[in-house]
Amino acid sequence: MALHGNLIVSIEECKGCGLCVEACPPKVLHLTQQLNHCGYHTVEYTGQGCTGCGICFYVCPEPGALAVYRLAA
């Protein structure tokens, strides 16, 4: 299956709230064991199955934690 979307997480900005994990329709996000400099378990994209829908971006409270990419038509 072609990858329609892609996601870049800014580890230092993520606060590990998990709202994006909950909201992502294809469930391609999870929280890692790793802690960032603020002590939060940050989110990670499995690398497979992102549709580029942008939902994670909208539910995330941090201005720059997530950047969503979409395959140009």
């Binding site: 900005e13 909208y58 409270p61 201005p63 950047a67």
Partner: protein, 473 residues
């Protein structure tokens, strides 16, 4: 990532770096999962999309969002608790072209600020209010809010909110919908991505209404506060969806945006108000000549007894008689005599937004402590009048104009050292030409009843004008 385009990313209207803390330059100070962050992003996005970043003024509240000015790269003002809608009113009225956002929590808007919001809405002020209802006081650690659900425990309702003791949850949209003036009132929620998308539309619409100049718009946002609610962010979102939305139904409570006509800045008061109030003879009021722009931000400082406050009052009175917008703001020292005193005066052809002068373009320093205190604040290019012929070694600046004359001593030679303020006034008038002499004469006639003193003052004024003529013929 060949072939990919950026679809969603950080809005332009946020600062690229948040200066608040060296170790958190990109993060907000909000708790993980807090609704304030989500709403900030919706607002920043809408500002970007509407292209209004360079004319938006964001009024931050007291509450968890008090640091809004660290995040939004727009004009910012921090208001006292509950007063955001009143401050926003002032900003909008003095700067009608700006887009003014009043961002308020439920403690801020529905408790301490209930009067301000009610009257701003009732007057139909053409501002946009974002009202964050998280049903609790967040910043102060969880006291009951007017919006707290019945039965909910808080630090001030340890057995749960009771109707007998604290009354019913206040429904702000419903309340404001009873008024004639509001154009747009909607309640949205941040309970899941669908609700957040709807909230994004409402936020943008509310701002668009202001851009079109249609009138008062308010969006109430049911917002998670996981920390005080003692829930995980995901549980808090569910609580918004299931519990809060049942008490505060989402929906449009008013939408007159289709029929509303664009609002124009309120007309100036009719007739000659100054004449009616007796502060100036009706026929004496001269509007400032068109095309001349006056913006004098004057700081006057010295010892009590040097006539600092009176000099300010005379300037303001004369400005008023010359048809300018004026303000006079005294600041008294703790002692009545010989203590330090200062005042701020503004004279302007444009409406004034604030009587505070923090970066003066004119400093009148009648003694050395005043010079030391205020010289660093003077705007580059500004004028500094100092009551001596030389500056202290360590008080030099290359980027301001100094007028160094012993005003007090010159007045003493004329017979009364107390008229030093008038010598200084004369020098200022000659140099700035901000005010016509007749206006100053009329102000003196009004404020100095003693003919003897007035004659002395006029003489002192003339002496001051001569001083500057000698420097700048």
């Amino acid at each position: 990532m060949d072939g990919y385009v950026l679809a969603q990313h950080r809005a332009h209207s946020f600062y690229p770096v948040f200066d608040r803390k060296p170790d958190a330059q990109h993060q907000t100070h909000y708790c993980p999962g807090c609704g304030h962050g989500i709403l900030h992003k919706l607002i920043a996005r809408a500002i970007d999309e509407l292209g209004i970043q360079d004319r938006t003024i964001f009024v931050s509240p007291v509450g968890c969002a008090v640091f809004g000015y660290y995040y939004f790269d727009v004009g910012n003002i921090q208001a006292a608790h509950g007063r955001a809608a009143a401050v926003a009113t002032a900003v909008k009225r003095t700067r009608p072209q700006s887009i003014v956002i009043s961002y308020q929590g439920d403690g801020d808007l529905a408790a301490i600020g209930s009067a301000e919001i009610l009257h701003a809405a009732n007057r139909g002020e053409p501002i946009t209010v974002f009202f964050v209802n998280n049903a609790i006081y967040g910043m102060t650690g969880g006291q009951v809010a007017p919006t707290t659900p019945v039965g909910a425990k808080s630090t001030t309702t340890p057995f749960g909110r009771s109707v007998e003791n604290e009354g019913y949850p206040l429904r702000v949209c419903e309340l404001l919908a009873a008024l004639e003036a509001p154009i747009y009132l909607e309640r949205v929620a941040l309970g899941n991505n669908k609700q957040i998308t709807a909230a994004a539309r409402a936020v943008k619409k509310a701002l668009e209404i202001q851009v079109k100049g249609l009138g008062f718009s308010l969006v109430e946002i049911l917002s998670p506060c996981p920390t005080v609610w003692k829930m995980t962010p995901v549980e808090a979102q569910r609580h918004v969806r299931d519990e809060l939305a049942a008490i505060f139904p989402a929906g449009v409570y008013r939408d007159r945006s289709k029929d509303a006509v664009p609002w124009n800045a309120p007309a100036r008061p009719p007739g000659d108000v100054r004449g009616m109030l007796g502060i100036a003879p009706s026929n004496g009021k001269k509007p400032a000549p068109p095309g001349t722009f006056v913006d004098q931000r004057i700081k006057i400082a010295g010892f009590g007894g040097q006539g600092v406050l009176l000099l300010g009052e005379i300037l303001a009175e004369a400005g008023m008689r010359a048809g300018l917008e004026v303000s006079w703001l005294p600041s008294y020292g703790p002692e009545m005599r010989s203590g330090a005193s200062n005042c701020s005066v503004r004279l302007s052809t444009a409406p004034l937004d604030s009587p505070v002068v923090s970066s003066p373009n004119v400093l009148m320093a009648l003694n050395e402590p005043s010079l030391r205190k205020f010289l660093p604040d003077v705007e580059p290019g500004g004028a500094v009048f100092y009551n001596r012929t030389a500056l202290p070694e360590d008080c030099r600046r290359q980027d301001v104009h100094f007028i160094l004359r012993p005003f007090t001593e010159l007045a003493d030679e004329l017979g009364d050292a107390r008229a030093g303020n008038m010598v200084l006034l004369g020098a200022f008038l000659q140099m700035s030409r901000a005010l016509p002499l007749e206006a100053v004469g009329a102000a003196l006639a009004h404020m100095i009843p003693s003919e003897r003193l007035r004659a002395l003052d006029l003489e002192a004024l003339e002496r001051g004008r001569q001083l500057v003529k000698e420097i700048l013929p």
